[in-house]
């Protein structure tokens, strides 16, 4: 990647990213948010976490490369869910997830 391509990529991606990160906040900031909007905003965290998890774990063609490569992360997910519910700890969840996934891939 040349310096020119690098600058174009950095500037365009950097600016669109900054706009997405900052604009919605400043559009809503300083206004009295109606109760309905507040309620809708409250659904963003569960919906976003669910979308992020689904994006990492699920794909229409996930079993195309064989059963185990797609099932191993799902099995590791079960381990993470158990640890997450027991400890509520992000750190333990991450450690468990990586260890479980690595062990499952060794099988």
């Amino acid at each position: 990647m040349s310096w020119e391509e690098f600058w174009i990529t950095l500037i365009v991606c950097g600016l669109t990213m900054l706009a997405c990160r900052v604009l919605p906040l400043f559009l809503l900031k300083g206004k009295d948010l109606p109760e309905n909007l507040n309620r809708a905003l409250g659904f963003i965290p569960p919906a976003a976490f669910a979308a992020l998890v689904a994006n990492d774990l699920l794909a229409p063609d996930m079993f195309a490369g064989g059963f185990w490569p797609a099932a191993a992360p799902l099995a590791a997910t079960i381990c993470v869910v158990v640890v997450a519910l027991k400890t509520r700890s992000l750190l333990w969840s991450a450690v468990t997830g990586v260890a479980a996934y690595a062990l499952l891939l060794l099988i």
Binding site: M1, F6, I8, T9, L10, V12, C13, G14, T16, M17, L18, C20, R21, V22, L23, P24, L25, F26, K29, L33, E35, N36, N38, R39, L41, G42, F43, I44, P45, P46, A47, A48, F49, A50, A51, L52, A54, N55, D56, L58, P60, P73, A76, T77, V80, V81, V83, A84, R88, S89, L90, L91, S93, A94, T96, G97, V98, Y101, A102, L105
Partner: protein, 262 residues
């Protein structure tokens, strides 16, 4: 200005993110070096663009020979999900200064959004702490990326496994959400939405569209449930029983008490 105890709070909350960013930041730097980016360029990407998904996509698409315009479009599309995080933090940022709000919003990622959202719900959290959490995370990401670019070729981290650290963080954040019926509706619909998007070849905006579907359906569900109440009042107060608890979430959500403290 910034209290010492706040720095400690932020650092402790940032530890899982920072370790996760080491695990995926080094491979990201290695990948960037593979397309000819040097340590300075990798540093600039991490400091000014700061997007895990984006910084993996750029070298990956470049290696596969995609034209620059399509790389820019795809990366920008994937990052539209950040709009949701910004909107979600709006109630917390109502009474803070513009520069603080700007720097906080400009440094939010998937992971720091998750951790700060949880911290705001638990209480005893504020935007200045959330900003420091973002900056600790970004430092870890940036340093790891630069290390990756410098050591490329010397070490090899199995990325598939390392990236599962992030997935695990999202799983933990997901399953520790309050499982009210409206939240469960949001979760199920968001997951189905992501799967549907991917099935139609829309993997770029899948997270944004899936999450929006989850929010919309859960909102409709909560509204219908509120209307269907026998109380006859129409405008249900959020303080009453069962499923409507979710409507109160906006209030328990950040009231930025921490900010008004001296």
């Amino acid at each position: 200005m910034v209290e010492r105890s706040h720095i400690k709070d932020s650092f402790q909350a940032a530890i899982p993110i920072m370790l996760g960013y080491v695990a995926i930041g080094i491979p990201c730097g290695i990948l960037c070096a593979a397309v000819g980016l040097n340590a300075l360029q990798v540093f600039l990407f991490s400091a000014l663009f700061y997007s895990g998904a984006g910084q993996f996509m750029i070298p990956n698409m470049y290696l596969s020979g995609s034209p620059l315009a399509s790389i820019l479009a795809s990366v920008s599309l994937v990052n539209t999900r950040q709009m949701l995080y910004a909107a979600s933090f709006a109630p917390a940022c109502q009474n803070i200064s513009k520069p603080l709000a700007f720097f906080f919003a400009a440094t939010v990622t998937d992971e720091s959004f998750g951790v700060s959202t949880r911290k705001f719900e638990e209480g005893d959290w504020s935007v200045d702490r959330a900003l420091m959490l973002n900056l600790f995370s970004q430092s870890s990401w940036t340093i790891s990326n630069v290390i990756g670019a410098l050591v490329s070729g010397l070490i090899d981290i199995p990325l598939q496994i390392a990236a599962f650290a992030m997935t695990s963080i999202f799983i933990c954040l997901l399953v520790t959400q309050k499982m009210t019926d409206a939240n469960v509706v949001a979760i199920v619909c968001a997951m189905l939405g992501v799967f549907a998007c991917k099935s139609f070849g829309l993997s770029g905006p899948a997270i944004l569209i899936g999450a929006l579907i989850g929010v919309a359906v859960a909102f409709a569900y909560a509204s219908i449930k509120a209307k269907g109440r026998p109380s006859g009042g129409g405008e249900a107060l959020p303080s009453d029983q069962d499923g409507m608890r979710t409507s109160g979430k906006g209030e328990t959500h950040p009231s930025n008490e921490g900010e008004v403290r001296p």
